[in-house]
Amino acid sequence: MCLGIPGQIVAITDEGRLMALAEVSGVRREVNVACIADGPLAGLIGEWALIHVGFAMSRIDALEAEKTLEALRDLGEAQEALAAMAEGQRALEGRG
C-alpha cells in the first residue's frame, strides 16, 4: 500500500473525472491522474508514472520504471499490488 508501482498510461477514459487506463505489469486498470496532469490529458498517453492505490502520483522515465519494478518484484511488493488490484475488482463484483 505504501510503495507505488510503475504503470504506463495507455488511454484516457474520463476527461472530466481525470481518469485514465494504466497498464501495470500486463494488467490494466483505471487510475486517477489528477496529480500528474499539467496540460491536455492526451499528452499523458505513453507516459510512465508511479501508481499508489489507484492514483498516478509522480511521472517517472521508462528506465526508472523498469528498475523500480525489478526492485518491487524482489521485495514481493509487485505481486502484492497486483493481487490487491484483483481483489479490488472482486470486491466491486460483490465476490470480495
Binding site: 511488493e77 481483489e87 470480495g96
Partner: protein
C-alpha cells in the same frame, strides 16, 4: 557476503560498502559504539532485511527501525472501531487488505468478515467510490489509512464524492503524518539516534522541507532515499559523510522521484480536505501531538466519524495494548524484536499478537521472515 550476489550491480554495491566502512572507521564507529541510523519507512525496513544490508554494512553502523509502517502503528481501539462500523446494518466496509489481520480487542477485520460482516478488500478508495455508486441502498465506508503517500488519494476521493453528491459514501479517516512522530522520538531523552534515512514516497508528496527541523532544531542529518538496495547504501553513506564533516542537513538521494517542494496537486487536496487533530494515538508510541488528520467540517457528510459518531467523533479513548507485547519498545528502537518475550512464541505472522508482526514492513515480521534463523544464532 552471502547476499551480495543478489545485487544487480554487485560492483557498485562493493564500492559503496567499502566507502561506508572507510567513513565509519574515520568517525570511530565500532560494534560496541555504533552509529545509530533510523530508517523511518517500513518499505526501507523490508528492503534492508531482504538484501541483508544490516549485515553487509560496517559493523559500526546500526539500523533502528522506525515507526513508518501505517499498519504497525494502528492501535487496537482503531481496529475495534472498524469492526463496530462493519457490524452496522447496511454497511459495506472497505479497506486495504493490509489491515485485515491486525488484531483488535474483540476480533480482527478478517474474523469479522468470517462472522458475516460485509467487508471488502479494495485496492483503491476509487473502488470504494464505485461500490457506493453501484449500491445506492447501502452505506459504503472506506477505511482511510496510511501516511502522506495515501492521504491525497483519500482526499481526492472525498472531493469526487462531494462533486457527485454521493451521499452513501464516507471515510473513516485515520491518516497520519511522518514528521510528528520523528519529532516525538527526537524529544525522547532515551533515544540515541545519529541520523535518518527519510521515506521516499511520502516525500514525493510532501517534499523535503517538512524535515528541516530535524537538521535545524535537533542537529541530525537526514537523507531522503529510494528503496532499491543501492539507493539505501548510497543514503547511508551520505548520512555518515554528514556526520564525519560535522554537517546536519536534509539531503535528497531520491531526487529522480522526490521534488523539493512535493506534489502541488496532492498538497492542495490535503489542505482542502483535512485539518490536524490536536493529538492522535499510535500503537506503541501513545498520543502524539498534531500527528493525525481529521476531515474538515465542510466535508462532514463524508466523514464516517461524524456520520456514525465513532472513534474520535465519540470522544477520548483509552490507550492499551495486549499483555506481554513489547511493540512500543521495538518501535522506539529500545529493543530488537527478538528481545520481545512473545517473538516467535505467542506472536508469529500466522497468529500475530502485535501489529509489527502483521505487515511485511513491520520490524518483527521482517526479522521473522529474513532474520529468524540468523537471530536465533546470535
Amino acid at each position: 557476503m552471502k547476499y551480495a550476489s543478489e545485487f544487480r550491480d554487485p560492483l557498485a554495491a562493493k564500492v559503496l560498502l567499502a566507502e561506508i566502512a572507510r567513513v565509519a572507521d574515520a568517525i570511530g564507529a565500532t560494534k560496541a559504539k555504533p552509529v545509530h541510523i533510523m530508517e523511518i519507512c517500513g518499505g526501507h525496513t523490508h528492503a534492508i532485511f531482504r538484501y541483508g544490508l544490516d549485515k553487509l554494512v560496517h559493523e559500526g553502523v546500526e539500523f533502528i527501525h522506525g515507526p513508518g509502517c501505517p499498519v504497525c502503528v494502528l492501535p487496537m481501539s482503531r481496529v475495534d472501531e472498524c469492526v463496530q462500523l462493519a457490524e452496522l446494518p447496511g454497511v459495506i466496509f472497505t479497506t486495504f487488505g493490509d489491515a485485515m489481520r491486525v488484531p483488535g480487542r474483540r476480533k480482527s477485520l478478517l474474523q469479522a468478515k468470517a462472522a458475516g460482516c460485509d467487508i471488502r478488500m479494495v485496492y483503491s478508495p476509487l473502488d470504494a467510490l464505485e461500490l457506493a455508486r453501484r449500491n445506492p441502498g447501502r452505506e459504503v465506508v472506506f477505511f482511510g489509512l496510511g501516511f502522506e503517500t495515501t492521504t491525497p488519494s483519500t482526499a481526492l476521493s472525498i472531493q469526487q464524492a462531494a462533486r457527485e453528491g454521493l451521499a452513501n459514501f464516507s471515510v473513516f479517516c485515520n491518516h497520519i503524518t511522518v514528521p510528528e512522530p520523528i519529532r516525538a522520538l527526537l524529544g525522547d531523552p532515551d533515544m540515541l539516534l545519529d541520523g535518518f534515512i527519510g521515506p521516499g514516497h511520502v516525500s514525493m508528496v510532501i517534499g523535503t522541507h517538512p524535515y528541516d527541523f530535524i537538521a535545524q532544531e535537533f542537529g541530525k542529518p537526514i537523507v531522503v532515499a529510494g528503496f532499491e538496495p543501492l539507493d539505501l547504501l548510497q543514503s547511508v553513506l551520505m548520512v555518515l559523510r554528514q556526520i564525519a564533516e560535522g554537517r546536519a542537513e536534509v539531503e535528497n538521494q531520491y531526487a529522480r522521484v522526490v521534488p523539493e517542494h512535493g506534489n502541488p496537486v496532492s498538497l492542495a487536496a490535503i489542505a482542502d480536505v483535512y485539518e490536524r487533530r490536536p493529538s492522535f494515538e499510535w500503537r506503541g508510541l501513545g498520543e502524539i501531538d498534531a500527528s493525525g488528520l481529521k476531515i474538515r467540517a465542510k466535508y462532514a457528510a463524508w466523514d464516517a466519524e461524524e456520520k456514525f459518531a465513532i472513534g474520535y467523533g465519540a470522544g477520548p479513548r483509552v490507550v492499551d495494548e495486549p499483555e506481554g507485547c513489547a511493540c512500543g519498545a521495538v518501535m522506539t528502537g529500545r529493543i530488537k524484536p527478538t528481545a520481545c518475550p512473545q517473538f516467535g512464541k505467542g506472536c508469529t505472522p500466522e497468529m500475530p499478537l502485535g501489529a509489527l508482526m502483521v505487515s511485511s514492513e513491520g520490524a518483527c515480521a521482517a526479522y521473522w521472515q529474513y532474520g529468524g534463523a540468523r537471530a536465533a544464532a546470535e
